[in-house]
Symmetry: C4
Subunit: 278 residues, 4 copies
């Protein structure tokens, strides 16, 4: 990072908008987040029917305020970056654009069907919220733990899918259309609903054999739900034994268990770092 | 604690009511708890309709007994404390007051609607039960384990909420009003019901695409339910791990994390046992 | 145990019926178990309506066979024991008696209502099956792990109950009778159904506020279901840290626990690989 | 494995079809897998009703392509193996045969009922997909973890079954036919649905006593779902855990991993205790 006084106004703006290391940058991100949350709440409320008419009027006003602010932000982002094209065609660049235009488009395309489509574009703003995770150190730890157990989780998902296919097909053949199992995809859907212990109840077996198989699937679901839990759990246990993740051993007494931050041997009081440097 | 014989009757009453270190204090708390439980059962039964009329008569008698005892307790609490105002406007003071007055208020305000409101005040007594937890050492351990994994849990809850927003909106757009997804908040509600594997079934997808997305959400729910389990599990494992189960702190540098077998401070090399014996 | 030849026939019968260390004793227990399972299946099938009439006829025959065998077993148990009264009034003695008499009683008391009651007595035989667990060493381990974490589980259950009371009352006040929350006990029942992620869907919130509270309860259910899992998981981890994954045994001292990479016996210093190659 | 140039064309074909160590063998397996997946999708779509007629026409074309390829593969498998009978009557041999013939059989047996049966044979192809697991090393680890905890899981399943029997019978006696508990097997089915926290809601208690018992079963379900999770979790933790709980290190070779009870270094055979005493 260069010295502040030597920065041009575009560089400063860039620091505020794209970075979060300065107080201004942090403030910008928090304000942006508040407006994203507000716009999400506006979109959610707009979808609710049967409210008083004045609510929809105020929602439209709010929508305009948010749209104008998002427009200004979008323009600022393009101005202060060196390669605007790279931002415009990036993932967040496209989302920023799409979440800004709906209200403008509503001038050209009238009609409820078209508006519904525009509204759905506005909802993409929600993805912006995901950016907040970068501020939370814990989020990275969670991500790392999940990333590390990804091969296990993929194998597990594959096993669940094959099992769902087989069980869903069997349920379709056993139950037939009476119980709601109108096709194999429906049977597979039901099996996933059951294996994950969600159990909506919109489709459920009615024949004795179907119920017996359903019981077997449910009890298997027990074992299956244990697997991802076990994986993540073990991963976390492994990660959160932070006390001793080193191989230091005391030069004086050869004691080997030392906390990561230890400077002196807890057994004999010898200086551990002195040893390391020699 | 002063010598018992030198205590005034108000100090002794204070010891019985507010503390739990003497046999009388423990007995008082147990008796109080029994009456709180009784009053909770009375309120619960009162809300049940279709019972024999004499049941409601006896419930009223019981209600009177409990109300009078609660009144006496409330007066005693005010008398024996030095700063009555501090108790009266404390959290439990307000609850104690609110759980005592409903029956008295029913003299002034007649009618079923008003009585329903009073009844709801009575229910606040339930919170008193929470005080019992202080007697159970295990409760503190549970609390500590939860408190320690709070940042992880908050990040997790945030992730669940963002996911629910996105998935709920998508389900609203895909399913529309036919399947019960009448608004985005409804879609978010359904997503939470599904992700937590509760699955009431009052709202459920009916289009093939909606069912496909629902399957994806359910399988993600698998992975997601594994996260809090893994967190708490790891937290518990960590706590029952032998590395650091002591409260030693170095006399020299005040470092507090020491292995159980440590003889010397790992931070400054000071003799830990020497300190303990002095 | 005395020498076999010196045992009287009653002592030998006792050994067969009450113990499981001799082949005859084991065989007796297995045969008994098969008949208990059969009688359970008979009772289960008898409760199913709409089967062919001959099925019920065969079930009655089977019932007679089982009843006669159970009678003989009951008499044998009384004969071969020194203190018959102690057996007769023991837990299993009473169950054995109650599971034998229903068919005999049906001679004296005719009528479907009375028979239903007798049938319920027969069902107590199911408890006998629980005795099988003593053969399975793993069962004891499971029991021990659960027993060890009992205080934690009790505190947890208490917390769940208080939470259910508070949440159930709030749901009753918010939702009212429309949504099926006809009384506070009903609200508490619904909260338990929801917290445990079962979610039948017979009762479910319909007001926006009720749905918001329900979402909060469900997400809390996430954290809550993690607690018993974490407890049992940590308990198991603690117990199952057996250090070895091989079946090496020292040629010199027959020590069987060796690390996977071990070259020499850690008990006597003998060369393990030398032994393997010879 | 012989030198490639010396292999006959049948040996080379065998290597491609039955093995997966050569690039051609891997390619064959991947192509086969794609076609199995395609055939599964064809069967699934065929079971869906109400699609455009041309979809069914294209599905029939696809079905023919897949059937012809499967026929060629089946013939190739028989030709290139030394003992064709052994393959033909093996598990996968029979599945390969059964998944190939349905379309041919449809020439001889016309009518929807017969076609449905043929279709069910075709579904057996799904099992082929299971073969993919051999490529995934993680799959073996998962399998091992499950296999190792099998005795625990069996005991657990037995406990769940006995509990379901007892609880299901009690619910049948308490609820009777009104609530949907028409027979004991139905009660057992409901108990499994509830214990596994699936909760369809097609059957649910309606009497106060039944609801009370249901609450107890659900809360027990909490504890029960924790057991398999704990088992698998501990199994996973164990596998990623270092085997030792001590800090012994050999004076002679400085080997650091020793069992807690080790007396001699497993690497060089040196006396560990001798070292400690010096």
């Amino acid at each position: 990072m260069k010295n502040k006084s030597t920065l041009s106004w575009r560089e400063r703006l860039h620091e505020v908008i794209y970075e979060a290391e300065t107080p201004a940058g942090k403030l910008f991100d928090i304000v942006l987040l508040v407006f994203i949350f507000l716009s999400v709440i506006f979109v959610m409320l707009e979808s609710v029917r049967g409210l008083d008419p004045w609510v929809y009027t105020y929602l439209l006003y709010g929508e305009w305020v948010v749209t104008i602010l998002f427009t200004l932000e979008y323009i600022a982002r393009i101005i202060c970056i060196k390669r605007p094209k790279r931002y415009i065609f990036s993932f967040y660049g496209i989302i920023d654009f799409l979440s800004t235009i709906p209200l403008y488009l509503s001038f050209f395309f009238a009609g409820s069907a078209a508006l519904l489509t525009f509204r759905s574009l506005r909802l993409l703003r929600i993805f912006r919220i995901l950016k907040i995770t970068r501020y939370i150190g814990e989020g990275n730890r969670l991500k790392k733990a999940l990333a590390h157990s990804r091969p296990k989780i993929l194998v597990f998902l594959f096993a669940v899918m094959v099992l769902s296919l087989i069980a869903g097909t069997m349920m379709y053949l056993i139950e037939g259309e009476e119980g709601g199992f109108t096709s194999i995809p429906m049977g597979v859907y039901w099996t996933i609903v059951t294996l994950t212990t969600v159990g909506f109840g919109d489709i459920h077996p009615i024949t004795p054999l179907g119920r017996f198989l359903a019981s077997a699937i449910m009890i298997m679901g027990y074992g299956i739900i244990a697997v991802p839990t076990g994986i993540v759990s073990a991963e976390y246990s492994r990660r959160s034994n932070p006390e001793i993740n080193n191989t230091q051993s005391c030069y004086n007494c050869n004691e080997k268990e030392h906390l990561d931050k230890a400077k002196y041997c807890h057994h004999c009081g010898y200086d551990l770092h002195n040893e390391n440097e020699e």
